[in-house]
């Protein structure tokens, strides 16, 4: 008979061993699925490793995939830590991109070309736009107790329609109408030269956005574990009634956390414009599912900002490999399946962290020598 006993304390090593263990289990399961559907798992994994990390220019490409999900992962972690399920990082990132591209174009028109100025301005504008977009469901949750899962999700769709509209169905500021070709095949205005964010390194190229993301992660960690703000967040997350009892202003926290979360996602949008696409590209943004992948990253990292950085690189590698290898003999949909399995295993592993599993023979009758309880860790 298998019994679950709640653990009184959680040993440190378990908190690392279980996520790692669940990753290994996930890869094993995936290997089985691949084998059963006629693909060679060893070959597939080697391909993925090569395309994701070890091959020529692979790691640099991985950073391209990892940077946006670093931001959306941090955004999700920031909110989920307080039991606020912000699923809207996707849309908040789009809005951030809108804001960043707007200000970049504005600065370009004024003939400015100092890159640091662009970086700061774009991050700021993007953060504000993302925060505002997140404050809509935030306000609804704080004042009308409306479920934020659905509202943030719905706004993702609206945001997607918005950026599609800006480029494809209107003559908006963001749209490039300079050439005849641009007028018939809609695309966004190219960003001015100053808006190209620098990169670092030569054999492995690290985009500025990734470094900014690391900084955000550190700041988030300090905020949540070393400040009054973070203290209140931890109480609200555990017991909103206790927070009210202690006189904490729950509503303000909800608004603040949503704004922070949305702002971080927004900066991810700025990074997309500044680091990679250099134009507002609705099709590309919507096809990539940055926001949803970010949630996977955050869940796997157990909402710890530093772990998010690590997991973002890992999943970035996975995604990068998926894109690179896509073709007739590399199964499409593999990326989503893998992410799902990894998450399932991580969820299952959670159980081991919170509970101790004991296997014991059924209690014997007649007051005999009792059951042999072997704690199975």
């Amino acid at each position: 008979m298998i019994r679950l006993e709640r653990r009184l304390e959680q040993p440190r090593w378990l908190l690392v061993a279980v996520p790692v263990g669940s990753l290994i289990v996930a890869f094993a399961i995936m290997a089985v699925i691949l084998a059963v559907t006629g693909h060679d798992p060893g070959h597939t994994y080697r391909q993925m490793l090569d395309a994701g990390f070890t091959g020529n220019g692979a790691f640099s490409a991985t950073f391209i995939s990892a940077t946006p999900i670093l931001f959306t992962g941090l955004a999700a972690a920031a909110a989920f830590r307080m039991q606020l399920f912000n699923i809207g990082a996707e849309g908040q990132l789009y809005l951030g991109a809108v804001g960043a591209s707007w200000i970049a174009l504005q600065l370009g028109e004024r003939g400015l070309d100092s890159t640091p100025l662009y970086v700061v301005a774009m991050c700021f504008a993007a953060g504000v736009m993302g925060a505002l977009w997140a404050l809509i469901p935030g306000v609804l949750r704080a004042f009308a107790n409306t479920n934020e899962i659905i509202t943030t999700l719905m706004l993702n769709y609206v945001a997607g329609f918005l950026i599609t509209y800006l480029i494809f169905d209107s003559s908006s500021y963001w749209r490039d109408v300079s050439t005849l070709q641009a007028q018939s095949f809609p695309q966004g205005k190219p960003m001015p030269a100053g808006a190209e964010w620098p990169t670092f390194g030569s054999s492995v190229v690290v985009p500025l956005g990734f470094l900014i993301g690391l900084g955000v992660a550190a700041a988030l960690w300090v905020l949540y574990s070393r400040t009054r703000f973070g203290f209140e967040v931890s109480v609200i997350a555990d017991s909103p009634r206790a927070a009210r009892y202690a006189g904490m202003r729950t509503r303000r926290k909800i608004l603040a956390v949503m704004a922070i979360s949305g702002g971080i996602a927004g900066i991810g949008g700025a990074s997309q414009i500044g680091d990679f696409t250099h134009t507002l590209d609705p099709t590309g943004l919507q096809g990539a599912a940055f926001g949803y992948t970010g949630i996977v990253v955050a869940a796997l990292a157990r909402y710890n900002p530093f772990a998010v950085c690590l997991v973002a690189v890992l999943l970035g590698g996975l995604q990068n490999a998926g894109f690179t290898l896509q073709g007739p003999d590399f199964p499409s949909g593999l990326v989503g399946v893998m992410q799902g399995i990894i998450l399932f295993c991580a969820l299952g592993g959670e159980l081991l962290i919170r509970y101790r599993v004991t296997i014991s023979r059924r209690a014997r009758q007649q007051g005999d020598a009792g059951p042999a309880a072997e704690p199975a860790r």
């Binding site: 989503g336 799902g340 959670e350």
Partner: protein, 323 residues
Amino acid sequence: MSVNNSLVVVVLAQAVLYGTPLLYAALGELLAERSGVLNLGVEGMMLFGAAVGYWVTQTVHGADAPVLILAVVGAGLSGAAMAAIHAFLTITLRASQIVSGLALTIFAGGLGLSAYFGAELDLASLPTTHQFASLDVLGLADLPVVGPILFDQSALVYASWVLTLVVAVYLGRTRWGLNVRAVGEAPASADAMGINVTLYRYVHVLIGGALAGIGGACYSLSIIPNWFAGDSLVNGAGWIAIALVIFAFWRPGLCLLGAYLFGGLSALPAALQAHGVTIAPEFLYSLPYVMTIVVLVIVSTSLAKRRLGAPAALGVPYVREER
């Protein structure tokens, strides 16, 4: 021009058509939530069900009726299989229902299992072989106004009406329905009265998955009817269905009304364009999603005041021996 071709009638008839997958998925989610389990994987289950349903029509040969029935069954089974993962994680392993549901959507969704499945079987390239055609019921399809709306729909639509009735009677009047409501409201009380909480939750989550799968099959077998990879096959219907359940105060009858309301909003853009009304399409496309938010806000503020509302134990894993 006959009144049956007017904008209003066309939109209403399409409201029923587009609302049907929402209704199936919402009824399924309603049953799961009534037993206390929130399943956010509806979108993924719908996508997978759509793919499997389509595959069945491609592989099984025969007349329309039996093949389509088999396809619906297949879609239902595939949805239930997906739901089983969620059920195991959340009921037995006591994982977070929210994260598990999201994981299921990613796993089974347009960039996951349904795409994998479709690619392996090359479903996107296969032309539609069987689809649900409109049944001219009792020859009344040409009645003014009500004809196209009520009497010219497919079997899936009529089946959904029966299903709504069945679910309503089940929950409100039968012993099992009483039991499942108790499980969702007060699992400790239900357990103490000898009701197997785990069993009831598993069963209802699986049924919820099956219905979601059938809802997805509505798209590939009736509405489009075709299959292609990606999320846009269903395009957020799964999420709207989740919101629908809240909108309907967890009651089947209101689910039906809500499904048709949102179905109508989805049908509006195409119908307006066909009638020469030009508004930027994105504005119209975003209407159902904005409406969902509005409806949810209204419901939330009134929920706070009324006694009716979510099953009290929704989202919380039930543990018997915890001290």
